[in-house]
Symmetry: none
Subunit: 222 residues, 2 copies
């Protein structure tokens, strides 16, 4: 049985999620503030955390950091529509995915499943994924059928493959491939994402695997 901890200061949201998730077979614990969330997480050791960033007593990012200091539990973050900075910050701080309010429960469940599945496949992530008609093997540095990729293209693709299905922020990609000094230059990403799409997507202008998350980053879905 999958054990989920729901953290939100709005009791009606907590109740709604609790009911809907239980119907779907999850064991649900709840908390309405940051301190309670950390206590509950320590006590019940949830398999997954749904965390609202807009808590009354402490910053959602602080809760996330507190969690991450001792646990690798998957976290799905809830944000307000405009809280863009918090959203990106949460992902950089180790959140696994996010959802903007208001949202449909089905969508949350879908994200939860995706996140949980991803964690199962090990901390080092996957090394090979199928992208359309291509098989990309990061360990072997091969694509079949053969496609020529430049070093930078490989570097970028490798990160996305290792975290396939997972949203990776602009900052993470830039820092990893070009270094910390380039964290603002998304034009590099635009350039190379375009190139990768032209080499790996059937319709580069209508990507089905290398997806854009506007204002946040990119996500590779097999």
């Amino acid at each position: 049985m999958m054990r989920v901890l729901v953290v939100d200061d709005d009791p009606s949201i907590v109740r709604t999620l609790q009911i809907n998730l239980r119907i779907r077979g999850y064991a649900v614990d709840t908390a309405v503030d940051g301190a309670g969330a950390l206590r509950a997480a320590l006590r019940v050791r949830p398999d997954l955390v749904v965390l609202d960033l807009g808590l009354p007593d402490m910053d959602g990012l602080a809760v996330l950091a507190g969690l991450r200091s001792w646990s690798a539990v998957p976290v799905v973050v809830l944000t307000g529509r405009d809280d863009h900075a918090a959203k990106v910050g949460a992902l950089d701080a180790g959140a696994d995915d996010y959802l903007t309010k208001p949202f449909h429960v089905e969508e949350l469940v879908a994200r939860m499943r995706a996140v949980a599945r991803r964690r199962l496949s090990g901390p080092s992530g996957v090394s090979a994924v199928r992208i359309g008609r291509f098989l990309v093997d990061v360990a072997d540095r091969t694509v079949t059928p053969p496609v020529r990729l430049t070093p930078t293209e490989w570097h970028l693709l490798e990160i996305l493959v290792r975290r396939s299905g997972h949203l990776v922020t602009h900052r993470e990609l830039l820092r990893e491939v070009w270094g910390p000094a380039y964290e603002g230059s998304t034009n590099y990403l635009r350039q190379y994402v375009t190139q990768l799409r032209h080499k790996l997507e059937e319709e580069p202008s209508r990507p089905r695997h290398l997806l854009t998350e506007q204002g946040v980053g990119y996500r590779l879905v097999p």
Copy 2:
């Protein structure tokens, strides 16, 4: 955990290997003579054997034969630099790979990994590959139809053949052929890769087997 049996009559070599292999996560048993080696092999059933051919009490080949009479365990043989006959004999007797003393521990580990991997992937041991109209046999050190290769050319080709299909980095090639001090000088590689292509490729300027992976290394595809 991979269990390795190290057999050598020189205690200092045994000790060095024991320490270095344990650091790298192998479980290590040791023996200092042939009789002990066979006893140990029977007892611990190692996943891999590192066997020195110059043992005091019995011929290394006899040990290998004894092993092979009941086990298909991968064996990496250690030989003196000039002991060419013994080396060839060992390969004929069922050794999987050899290394001449003195050697770097990293190289031994690399060979061990390669041998273990080869065993896993079935009988596709890469000691011989077809390159265009040539058959390159690393174990025999022959190319048919005959091609004259210089020692350095052969050394380079041997590494690529043993790992055919896989990417080999500049650094690995340089370290293997010229030594660790030359890891930055890719101009050596450029020179000798060109020579190999002129001897083995139909169109040296349009290589179809000895391929460049820009910025990274080379890959030999049969």
